[in-house]
């Protein structure tokens, strides 16, 4: 393979990886918007990465047939999300760290996590 072609392919692979890694945190008008979807008794993605020390919003979609209570004891957030509803949760700047969230209506659902870096 010619060297130039290899460089371009490497670049594209790295770029694609970067897009995948940061697909959980879309930057719009300077504010970070992260999204999470609840379906089949689990949060997807289970782990989100957001910038530390900056406010961000989290859009939570409940694609399941039952209501959930999006709860993060670590981040002091608590919201009921009805089936088919998408809510916006406003988050204050978080110090670097690992913050968990869960469905407080059903503790058998695996916890999700927000990583502030």
């Amino acid at each position: 393979m010619p060297c130039r072609k290899k460089t371009i392919l490497t670049f594209l692979a790295v770029a694609a990886g970067g897009v995948l890694a940061f697909s959980q945190a879309v930057h719009a008008n300077g504010a970070t918007v992260a999204t999470v979807r609840f379906s089949g008794d689990r949060f997807e993605p289970a782990k989100l990465t957001v910038p530390a020390n900056q406010p961000f919003t989290l859009e939570v979609t409940n694609a399941d047939k039952k209501a959930i209570e999006f709860e993060s004891f670590d981040l002091h957030r608590e919201r009921v999300v009805r089936p088919g509803q998408t809510i916006t949760v406003y988050m204050a700047p978080a110090a670097p760290g690992h913050y968990t969230f869960c469905d407080d209506f059903d503790h058998s659902v695996a916890e999700g996590a927000i990583e502030a870096r």
Partner: protein, 152 residues
């Protein structure tokens, strides 16, 4: 020594032994940032802060096992559910604020809070009818304001 005496002695020894398992007294920042009309703040400070804040008071009897285990577990759970020391943080997200206001109103109105055992143990847990009414009105108005700010 009769069997009954032996039983009492064994019980006493067990109670003394479990005192080794002490629960750490933990309070966070003394700043609470909780703002409300004076009558509401005063009532909440007296009746709710004991469990729902980082400013819990730990009288001597809360250091005696197994009672201390129960009290510490209650305070931990209470702080998880509603911590007035994080009040400003709740208000940052109007949806969360609406839920917290709604829960406060429901709990006070239904007489579920302060819990019966706190009321039995301490006069601080006994809210007057006027204090309950003030908290309920404040919570209803707060919820309405929060819902207006965040309709979803």
């Amino acid at each position: 020594m009769s069997g009954r005496t032996r039983g009492w002695l064994f019980g006493l020894a067990a109670i003394l032994a479990i005192q080794v398992l002490r629960m750490p007294v933990r309070n966070g920042s003394a700043q609470d940032g909780f703002e409300a009309p004076p009558e509401v703040r005063s009532a909440v400070l007296t009746a709710c802060f004991q469990c729902h804040s980082e400013r819990a008071r730990w009288p001597w009897y809360t250091q005696i096992a197994p009672f201390s285990w129960f009290v510490h577990a209650q305070v931990e759970e209470a702080r998880k559910r509603l911590n007035f020391s994080s009040w400003k943080d709740y208000l940052y997200d109007p949806g969360t604020a609406a839920q917290k206001f709604g829960a406060i109103n429901q709990m006070v109105r239904s007489d579920a809070m302060p819990p019966w055992y706190f009321r039995a143990l301490s006069a601080r847990g006994r809210l007057t009818a006027a204090q309950r009414a003030a908290i309920e009105t404040w919570a209803i108005e707060g919820r309405a304001r929060a819902l207006k700010a965040e309709p979803n």
